[in-house]
Symmetry: C2
Subunit: 211 residues, 2 copies
DNA sequence: ACCTGAACACCGTTCAAGT
DNA sequence: ACCTGAACACCGTTCAAGT
């Protein structure tokens, strides 16, 4: 596609896309600058013309992974459903690349990359009528949960595929539907908590439920 | 304390405690096997008599960090308060060591270490009368949030201390009370979601509409 | 039981220089 | 504009051998 397999010179986009292919095929630990350079038929030092360092390259990959999970804003549905949909879309985007969650999580932790995922979640929350700070905090909580959950999920997928199970540890073989259910449960907890908060503020700070 | 500064031979405990000191003083990136060996006045290869590899050593550190945050079971308080208290205790334990959250998160992601944190949270949830699967999933969701939040928090602390702020980016200087409030908000969302779930199942599956 | 010495097979990054 | 060549300063891990 953007490979530029033999045409000597490369663009920043070439480098990023080749890196994404290595990431997806061999995983994050095997995505080294030297391996990437070799895949591009170039010396390792050549990469530093396109990116100042490896972290910046990884941030670019994180942005691309997240951006590929972006659908239409879906302004029609109720806000809790929209928030759930954004969470699922983010999970799908992360699952689309091997170690996708870890790449995005580490980039996010370092404060690099556009924070597109965070902004999408915050916008969905804000559509529920919450103020900016509440929306941001809810988005952050959701984002942390999603990144943590999918990181864990992808780690388990690798272990299972290599078959690195300790003797005696039968170890649940990671049912995909179980994983999705556990994910949905976590999202429901957070969205439910936000709904509850909305109910409370709507019914006033002093009036408990009508009993 | 356990330093064994000059007495030639070391125990597994020495190695772990020295590693914790390096972690706390210089951070995770500087905790290398070679640096640890130097601190113990020993060749790097000597470490491999005590631990089979670096990941196993890090798992040991993670277990110690989490264990140090363990207080009394507090069976007196209501379960939502107990769950909140466990979450805060876990955060405090992680904050007690530099990069503590990242060490625990990566160990947890790899499925290494005793999962003491997860078990404590699950026990607190179960004390609310939820079944084992629900308690586990709630604990996992909480754990992911806590690890993600504190990782982020600690990353920012380092950035701020080194003063690596991009020009023009005034960047909020990370108010500690803000951080604590954002943390409490996320915990409240999850605990609140769980309370809501309890209310629903108590009032029957059909009584409440979910629009 | 605990460690040394020496090696293996790697890393990310810099920088002068080339075209 | 984009890359080479060569180096710097590191990594984790293995393994025979020592005491």
């Amino acid at each position: 596609m953007t490979g530029n397999e033999s045409g000597r010179r490369h663009t920043r986009d070439d480098v990023a896309e080749t890196a994404l292919r290595i990431l997806d095929d061999y995983g994050l630990p095997d995505l080294t600058m030297r391996r990437l350079a070799a895949a591009l038929d170039v010396q390792p030092s050549a990469l530093y013309w396109h990116f100042p360092n490896k972290q910046t390259l990884l941030a670019e990959l994180a942005d691309r992974i997240v951006a590929r999970g972006a659908g239409a804003p879906t302004d029609t549905t109720a806000w809790p459903d929209r928030l759930r949909a954004e969470s699922v879309a983010l999970r799908d985007a992360l699952l689309a690349y091997r170690d996708g969650a870890e790449v995005v999580a580490s980039t996010y932790a370092l404060g690099l990359g556009d924070s597109a995922a965070q902004r999408r979640l915050a916008a969905a929350a804000a559509s529920g009528g919450f103020d900016a700070e509440t929306s941001d905090r809810a988005a952050t909580a959701l984002l942390h949960f999603v990144l943590g959950h999918v990181s864990h999920e992808q780690q388990r997928m690798q272990f299972d595929s290599i078959g690195v199970l300790a003797t005696g540890e039968a170890a649940d073989p990671l049912d995909a539907s179980d994983s999705a259910a556990a994910f949905a449960f976590g999202v429901d907890l957070l969205v439910g908590g936000l709904e509850r908060l909305g109910d409370e503020s709507r019914s006033g700070p002093l009036s408990r439920s009508r009993t």
